[in-house]
């Protein structure tokens, strides 16, 4: 039955009355932003210049004296507009560069200029820190902004204060007490407003994060507004993983001070965990990359922590030795494996940033409390080891890319020989190709790891995110036959014959569907060869 005119009108009225309304604060801030952008034109309209400090305006009877004065004023206006603007509008100084490595630059339109300490920055300019160099700029109200390497921000004047527009990267803001105005940090999908506090804002492709060390901030995003207290953090994209604050600020020159602040404010922050003894010996005789390596393994009270083999294309036989409780042991360990283990990097995650020296190490460490130390504590100790011995600085970036979601099919998991619940530790191989050339993913998996392994299939060409909510350990077997056609490069489940989504659906009762998924990258900002023991 066709809906009546009255029903249609009612629906139309509902549509019409649902116009989005901006928050008052946002509107004020936007208007301030626009007003700032209009300034060059408005300044152009400031046309009367008089040789007096009284502020009395000259009238316009055309006498000779006035004519001369007017001509002089015109010349001054034409010849020295920039001088006038800079001299007479000192309030345009937004900040001063305080400390900087070799790579802070500002852009004004298309031009880029290297910055040095002491330089004044004006509102509207975009500043960028280079890879490997953090920088600190001081706002005129006494607030400090520490920029992570490879970050970009613009300082903007608003009607009620200052806005830091973070285009990418991270900043730690030590905000001075705001007496009358406000300080805002804005990313593409959230706004933080503060009155006096210390906090971190991180703008990534997939979303933004905020973490607070001291004081309180108000975070406003699409989902609404929320107050954050010390120790709390929030991300705009629920699929973005949460990481300890200590790790997120490891790039900062004041990381220790910020963590101390956090531990004063909350009991959540604990001091860095450290090995009681650690020996790191470069394998000098090797000279070149060694083809066989012991994996680095740590044994905690709750199980074994080990790196997954990262280079599947160079799959090599690993000589696995027994690890005593409470220790981490590895022979011929390359730093990438150490970093991967310390930062719990999933198989499908990338490591980027500064080059990591291709040097191998024998590593042997021991925790203080051998019998009770856990896997997670050992992992944190490895992070401290990297920090102290390799002077590592890292940050994570989450980018959004094409990939797949692994969910439970509508009829539930298809438990059977290929998908059976079991117990114990994860143990798996693959993806590998068997003698007939079929891709095989097989072993004892958590679904999270299984999804990550699927993401390594060359023909799938995209990360897979586990959304099954199945928490157990399973014996899983999946065999896929590569299709002969189809170019690689973009995620596609159809490059298998039959398609991977069909096989996974039929054999396992799971569903593989294309989606935008967050992909985490670990970016190494700084790394040195290990210092001597």
């Amino acid at each position: 039955m066709k809906p009546s005119k009255k029903t249609l009108n009612q629906t139309l009225d509902r549509w019409l009355s649902q116009s989005p309304c901006p928050a008052f604060e946002d509107m004020q801030s936007s208007l301030g932003h626009v007003w700032e952008r209009l300034q060059p034109q408005i300044v152009g309209m400031r046309e009367e210049v008089i040789p007096t400090s009284t502020g009395v305006r000259l009238h316009w009877p055309w006498s000779k004296t006035v004519l001369v004065a007017a001509m002089t004023a015109a010349v001054v206006l034409v010849a020295l507009p920039m001088v006038l603007i800079r001299t007479l509008r000192p309030d345009t100084t937004a900040a001063i560069v305080q400390t900087v490595g070799s790579g802070l630059s500002r852009t004004d339109g298309k031009k880029s200029q290297a910055l040095h300490a002491g330089l004044h920055l004006t509102f509207g300019q975009t500043i960028r820190s280079s890879v490997g160099d953090a920088a600190v700029v001081a706002l005129s109200d006494g607030s400090n902004i520490e920029m992570r390497p490879n970050s970009e921000l613009a300082l903007e004047s608003t009607s009620d204060g200052v806005r830091i527009r973070l285009n990418r990267g991270s900043v730690i803001v030590v905000a001075a007490k705001q007496r009358t105005g406000h300080l805002y940090v804005q990313t593409k999908d959230l706004k933080v407003s503060v009155v006096g506090t210390v906090f971190l804002v991180n703008a990534e492709e997939a979303g933004s994060r905020v973490a607070v060390f001291q004081g309180e901030v108000t975070v406003q995003g699409d989902a609404g507004s929320r107050k954050l207290s010390p120790g709390e953090q929030v991300a705009t994209n629920p699929l973005m993983k949460s990481h300890p604050v200590s790790e997120q600020i490891s790039w900062s020159g004041s990381a220790a001070a910020h963590l101390a602040l956090l531990s004063q404010s909350t009991s959540a922050a604990s001091p860095r965990l450290k090995f009681d003894a650690a020996a790191i010996r470069p394998v000098r005789s090797a000279g070149v990359f060694i083809k066989t390596a012991d994996r680095l393994r740590c044994k905690g009270a709750d199980g074994i922590l080990t790196t997954s083999v990262i280079r599947f294309n160079q799959m090599i036989a690993s000589v696995v030795s027994e690890v005593p409780q409470g220790r981490c042991v590895g022979r011929n360990v390359d730093p990438i494996s150490l970093i991967a283990l310390a930062y719990d990097i999933p198989l499908n995650q990338r490591i980027s940033g500064v080059p990591i020296p291709e040097e191998l190490y024998d590593i042997e460490t021991e925790a203080m409390d051998l019998s009770t130390v856990t896997k997670e504590q050992l992992r944190q100790m490895l992070q401290t080891l990297l920090l102290e011995r390799f002077a590592i600085k890292v940050h994570r970036e989450t980018r959004e890319g094409d990939g797949f979601l692994l969910t439970v099919g509508k009829n539930g998991p298809n438990y059977g020989p290929a998908f059976m619940e079991t117990s114990g530790e994860e143990e798996y191989f693959g993806p590998m190709h068997d003698a007939s050339g079929k891709a095989v993913v097989k072993g004892k998996f958590r679904l999270k790891t299984f999804a990550e392994s699927l993401g390594l299939l060359d023909n799938l060409s995209g990360p897979v995110l586990d959304m099954t909510n199945l928490s157990g350990i399973y014996n899983l077997t999946l065999i896929l036959k590569d299709a002969s056609s189809g170019s690689r490069g973009t995620p596609n489940a159809e490059r298998f014959d039959p398609p991977a989504s069909k096989v996974i659906g039929e054999q396992l009762g799971l569903r593989l569907e294309r989606a935008k998924v967050p992909v985490e990258y670990l970016v190494v900002d700084h790394f040195e060869k290990a210092s001597e023991n």
């Binding site: 005119k5 249609l8 019409l16 208007l31 626009v34 952008r37």
Partner: protein
Amino acid sequence: MLTVVKSERAQEIETIFKEHGQLVFRTAYGVTRNREDAEDVVQAVFMQLVRQERRPEGKNLQGYLYRAAVNASLNTIRRRKRERVLQVSDDIEAPTRVDSINAELRHRRLYEAIAELKPDAAHIVILRYMHNKSDAEIAAMLGTSRGTIALKLFRSRARLRKLLRASLEEEL
């Protein structure tokens, strides 16, 4: 020492911005549903004002700014529509986000339909539904009679109903 004082015109622009900036922004945001686009609209409207030598349209400045805001905002909607049509439609397999898609889609369809109305009809519809103005207030703002507003509003709703029929039925 040299002192720069603002010209009367510059001072006037500042006053107008303070008085009417919010109306222009609200209108632009309501139509475009996007803060950056709304900022661009406000900038365009006031740039237009800055470039004019005299205060426009005598006393009815609010009406002038409002109309300029609606026109610029609907231009943004039309531009977006053109860009969408021009995009290669090979994204059938592409992933989509489910959340808030309905509200966005509804808003987009509604304002694409409003963009097809005559400008004066669009001005009236937006004043009524976005700014909750009465016929009398709209008439005063746009410099016409109450009767004209009521008639145009009636016709505009009928036209919108026709343009949006398929989408409205889809929702029922």
